[in-house]
Symmetry: C2
Subunit: 254 residues, 2 copies
């Protein structure tokens, strides 16, 4: 296996009763997954756990052991239900400390607004000992990096700011390349065809994603490979096979 | 603990490379979580795993042991990447069989459309031995129920149809009641106040969910309890405390 064949993976732990209650619709899975793809890292598993320390510790421990990187979202604000930093310090067996740079950032932020750095706000400067900050151009509050772990905000546009400042910073492999072919057909019509085309291209996968729109059934076929030539060959073979079956298809997907 | 105090929980395993690649935005977590709340069942954990049999088996095994109910979404279509039924049969140590009723439903569906029940389509009649079908008024394809496990579609509106036919069928506890209070304040301003109000109401929890809108910061405080009186007392105390701090608040949330 050459260096470029090495597959880098990440796990994601989403911390938040608000997701498990159905109150808040998660947007971070898709956002982090897409960002990781571009870094050449595959999102391998996601766990959504409640705001309970033991449950966070367990999920973090399992997913960081199984992956190159671990991301968390949620639970790093100033209120009593924000316990992510404590849980991760516990998982790592380190103390929680006030990060001097985070403290200074928060002080500047609040005094600049004629307000004060209260005890509650100072909670946002707490980090597991040994951590660095993840700067965030979208708001004052930083994320936290400790080793291969990235502790990020739950509010999606703040998470986006943190991801932005990590872009290009993480070692990854060859990005997974994808092409989508859309087709107005029931996927059951082409199930055998898809299976055969995939079998003929060992290092490519084909996913089939059906939909119902405008009163008609259709499906998007997503072809994935880290190798551009394999991807092209697989896409070409699939399009040819669809054409031979009298099916119109839409490159780029429907 | 009285019968109504018993807390019923469910785990959810989302099966799909399309979620982990970021291509598809998950809508099933929120939909299933909200539906479970109404049934008096709490969603305790969600795992998103790839279309790999061993990974599905592991997640299913862990979450069904830890919860009263287990739900899965995705991977029950007719194509080669639909392997949920095989994985769950493996987890349960049973065979995969063709369900006669599902076969008859699919036959009626396809012959009624001048088409045939092909080998690929017959895949959708495969169930772990001993399973029943979950009828689905939204489309022909049924879900699968085996013991305390519910195997559902990945396409959200089909999942909705399956949930609909399960409404009122599952034993649950007292539904978790919630009230939301919105406030145009930085949550760090009221962190101490929230903590104190929560402490004074042992069987209620307060979650704080900050947002940025119209250039201003605000937060919604979600108060949860299975007991209506406790909920009311906690909400009243919180509103009083916000008022005493000179803050306007919006019952129902912002």
């Amino acid at each position: 296996m050459s260096a470029t064949d090495r597959i880098w993976t990440a796990g994601l732990v989403i911390i938040g009763d608000e997701i498990l209650s159905g109150r808040t619709h998660d947007k971070n899975i898709a956002q982090i997954a897409s960002w990781l793809q571009v870094q050449g890292i595959r999102l391998s598993e996601v766990r959504v756990v409640p705001d309970i320390e033991d449950r966070i510790v367990e999920a973090v421990d399992t997913l960081r052991a199984a992956n190159d990187y671990l991301f968390t979202t949620g639970g790093i604000g100033p209120t009593h239900d924000d316990i992510t930093v404590d849980a991760i310090a516990k998982a790592l067996g380190v103390q929680v400390v006030i990060h001097p740079e985070a403290r200074a950032m928060l002080e500047r932020y609040y005094t600049g607004r004629g307000s004060a750095l209260t005890e509650a706000r100072l909670r946002m400067a707490r980090v597991p000992e040994g951590a660095e900050l993840i700067p965030n151009r979208m708001s004052g509050a930083p994320g936290i990096r400790i080793g291969n772990m990235f502790i990020m905000a739950g509010v999606p546009h703040i998470t986006a700011g943190m991801l932005d400042s990590l872009t290009g910073e993480l070692e990854g492999g060859a990005p997974l390349l994808t092409e989508t072919i859309g087709c107005w057909t029931a996927e059951s019509e082409v199930a055998d065809l898809l299976r055969e085309v995939e079998r003929a291209h060992e290092s490519a996968q084909i996913g089939s994603y059906p939909f119902f729109r405008e009163g008609r059934v259709g499906a998007n076929f997503v072809i994935r490979s880290t190798d551009a030539e394999t991807l092209k060959s697989c896409v070409d073979t699939l399009c040819e096979a669809l054409g031979e079956n009298g099916l119109d298809f839409t490159p780029g997907g429907i």
